[in-house]
């Protein structure tokens, strides 16, 4: 019997698991996908919000500011890309300045440090390519950007190293109450546990509603994004938001930690929690709105577009903790923006709450630090030479656009919770994330994965079962001469 089973290996599930791994508990994470970070956590803005947005007093507000404060130290401890680049909220009309002021006040009440309102001249000086139509902006120096895959995978790996069992491709179908806990029925057998953490993203309401009469309702809210080439990454250095107006919430334009430029998201409520499709209108909308923020948005430099689903709950705040009628069942539900930023604080908050219910001592041998995969593209000449000396495969370039080497790909496959799919390799190493979008490197990555995993290349998948890259051999569809 497990002490804790976490449902969902997104950023929250992994953050909670990592915090729980500090304690003497038998913890497992069940994830229906073939890798961690396969849901909402993989498709979002990658922004570490300063925390001025949320309603003062809400869980969102509290955990956002806490998470934002934790992020820098955590990025060093767990070795994932994070940068405090500061954010700006643009105001496009004099009449909206009071609204900007209200946002400033809200930030103050939430405890966000260093907020300032910039006038047009100050704004232009801070960010030269900002749109001429912006009249003022709220500046938050504590705003940052983070690699959502890097953060989630780092948390998961560290949790795994500290004894958390990750069961991937394990889909929870039913939760039954039992004496002293819960029984989780999955497509890979049933598991018994004293406590459950429900970090199931857009599916969190289903699991919650299986055990509680206090029903919740998650609405998948689609956000579409356009990612631009690294050549465009220097257009702005801050994360640029738009002040919400009567015309809508606006979209953001931000550099990413890897130097691309990202624009989005839209916001459209959908029925299907799997509806990760982009739409013609959505993508056009992103580019049109983003162009309001900056001069010369290079729309021709888009290299990919994607959609993510935020788990919006009708109550508009995170649902954390036990429903009154389901002791030992801990929700981490309704985690929409700023969920990524909140995750480190949320993990700690929920873990402490769980320890209050199921007391356990701390481990003495907890491994605090995790070392990420070397990054040849970012490494200095000396570091490159040192890595190549350690393994010549760090000189064997597989992905030419992002300069990812065979050494890095092997590292990604061979480490704890290593990559088993093309997407897994991509999110860990960036192979295939560049301007050719895997055109050149995917055949090589398929070959390396097959070799390392002892599989036939035909079995190598993009991500989930059914997403195999290859469908067979040449002439499979041709009847042989002899047969006739």
């Amino acid at each position: 019997m497990y002490d804790v089973i976490v449902i969902g290996a997104g950023v929250c599930g992994c953050a909670i698991a990592r915090e729980l791994s500090r304690y003497r508990l038998r913890t497992a994470v069940l994830e229906r996908a073939s890798d961690v970070c396969e849901g909402t956590s993989k498709a979002n803005s990658g922004v570490a919000h300063a925390g001025f947005d949320a309603e003062p007093g809400s869980l969102k507000a509290r955990l956002n500011v806490e998470g934002s404060r934790m992020m820098e130290a955590l990025s060093k401890e767990l070795d994932f890309p994070y940068k405090r680049n500061g954010s700006l909220v643009l105001c496009f009309a004099e009449k909206d300045i009071p609204a900007l002021q209200r946002l400033y006040d809200r930030g103050q009440r939430n405890g966000v440090e260093g907020l300032r309102i910039l006038n047009r001249e100050q704004l232009k000086k801070t960010e030269p390519n900002i749109s001429d139509s912006a009249v003022a902006a709220l500046y938050a120096p504590t705003g940052g950007i983070v690699c959502p895959f890097g953060l989630t995978i780092a948390l998961a790996e560290n949790a795994a190293v500290n004894g958390v069992e990750f069961m991937l491709e394990t889909k929870v179908e039913e939760i039954q109450r039992m004496e002293g806990g819960y029984r989780l029925l999955t497509d890979r057998g049933s598991f018994e546990t004293k406590t459950v953490v429900n970090a199931a993203g857009v599916y969190a309401d289903r699991f919650h509603n299986m055990v509680s009469e206090e029903k919740i309702h998650i609405i998948p809210r689609k956000g579409e994004y356009c990612l631009m080439d690294k050549k465009a990454g220097g257009l702005v250095s801050h994360t640029i938001f738009q002040l919400p107006t009567a015309y809508g919430k606006g979209v953001l334009v931000t550099p990413t930690v890897h130097g691309n430029l990202l624009a989005g998201p839209t916001a459209a409520d959908v029925e299907d929690p799997e509806a990760l499709n982009t739409t013609g209108e959505g993508l056009a909308d992103v580019l049109r709105r983003a162009a309001l923020s900056v001069e010369g948005l290079p729309v021709r430099q888009v290299i990919t577009s994607f959609a993510g689903l935020r788990a919006h709950e009708e109550g508009n705040d995170f649902i954390l903790g036990q429903p009154k009628d389901a002791p030992g069942f801990f929700d981490a539900a309704g985690i929409e923006s700023p969920g990524l930023t909140c995750a480190p604080a949320l993990g700690r908050y929920l873990a402490e709450m769980l320890i209050g219910y199921l007391p356990a001592g701390k481990k003495e041998n907890f491994v605090t630090e995790r070392k990420g995969i070397p990054n040849m593209a970012m490494a200095s000449a000396e570091e490159k030479k040192r890595l190549i000396a350690s393994d010549p495969l760090y000189a064997n370039v597989v992905c030419r656009c992002e300069l990812v080497t065979e050494g890095e790909i092997l590292n990604a496959i061979r480490r704890p919770l290593g990559a088993v799919t093309l997407d897994g390799v991509k999110r860990r190493t960036r192979a295939g994330m560049g301007r050719c979008q895997a055109g050149f490197c995917s055949p090589r990555v398929v070959e390396i994965l097959a070799r390392e995993l002892g599989k036939d290349p035909g079995q190598i998948r993009k991500n989930e079962a059914g997403s195999e890259f290859l469908t067979g051999h040449d002439k499979d569809g041709i009847r042989e001469a002899k047969e006739r």
Partner: protein, 424 residues
Amino acid sequence: MKKDLVIIGGGPAGLAAAAAAREAGVEDLVVLERDQRLGGILNQCIHNGFGLHTFKEELTGPEYAGRYIEKAAALGISCRLNTMVVDLAAEGSVKKVTVMNREEGLYEIRARAVILAMGCRERPRGALNIPGYRPAGIYTAGTAQRYVNMEGRMPGREVVVLGSGDIGLIMARRMTLEGAKVKLVAELMPYSGGLKRNIVQCLDDFGIPLKLSHTVVDIKGKERVESVTVAQVDEDSKPIPGTEEEVACDTLLLSCGLIPENELSESLGTAMNPATGGPLVDESLETDREGVFACGNVLHVHDLVDYVSEEAASAGRNAAAYLQGRLAEKGREIPIRAENGVRYTVPASIDIGRMGETQTVRFRVSGMFRDAAVEVACGGQVLKHIDRRVLAPGEMEQIILKKSELEKTAQAGDPKEISVCVRT
């Protein structure tokens, strides 16, 4: 390490440039190739139709490449395989080429001259902004070509091709021959970007429909492609509502254009031509960085490899002349203006003092023209007026200018530019 000449890329352009430079007397040169074999993309182009101009016979891609690989070997040209150039910078007239490979690690080659021959890449789905899901089963035609022709693996069974560029047409036939069902080829433009011969022999021969003025407006399928929706487009290339047709398939191949791979040229700060995506070069195929030459698809995308070889050989000879002090100092560059139906020209300028007896100027037109003429003018005089029954964007054009003609014009007055245009 020091070298007189570094050639970046061991495909058809790099090999022809290296051979020509060696034949012109450059001893100290090296070809840097990132792949494990020489020949570049030709290795996966196993169809025939290469070399009619160069060898007066029809070869397949590997055979054409083979001729140049043999030639390079016979000339004793040193080629480094699996070698990636990670940076290119200039320090005075010295070019610093930072290189990485398994055997030698990370090191710098200080070169007196460099020939850029990195080729091009395909435009991916994201750059086309095709909405829909992002399942497995969406490949650029070239990636599919590699799987099929180099690995004997099929990337799909039922295929829709978007884009009627030559690679897309060729792959429609290759997939069909290897047992897949190609349902249709959709082309955004009202004309095909591919060669007529390929439309007949790759599509018509197999009854594969070509839908002009059509594009893909949606992709369905969460793990694997299940269908794509094609729709007709209007004159502004916008989908026309009500014309959508959902086509069941498991694969979408994209053949929507090639982009010269100029990240290294850009790191060197080379002036670029937005119309080609390649560096701006003069009559010597020299970029605005002294001693740095460019040729092949990194300069502008070609349709025939024969012209790549020809252009590259010229770059190789010019680099040799530069190294041997035979290439005249840059003097008065007369810019070539591409106008009225001409999208660009390569070269983009001519220095009469540096040009040979003749100068080939290659260009592409921006639309379909029938019963038109190509006109070259300089200093108010029409130098050439060549009647053409048809001019198509998919086919690269060339004209040959004589030094004597340009000299005569120059003597009459100082010409500000040479213009190349389509007269209808």
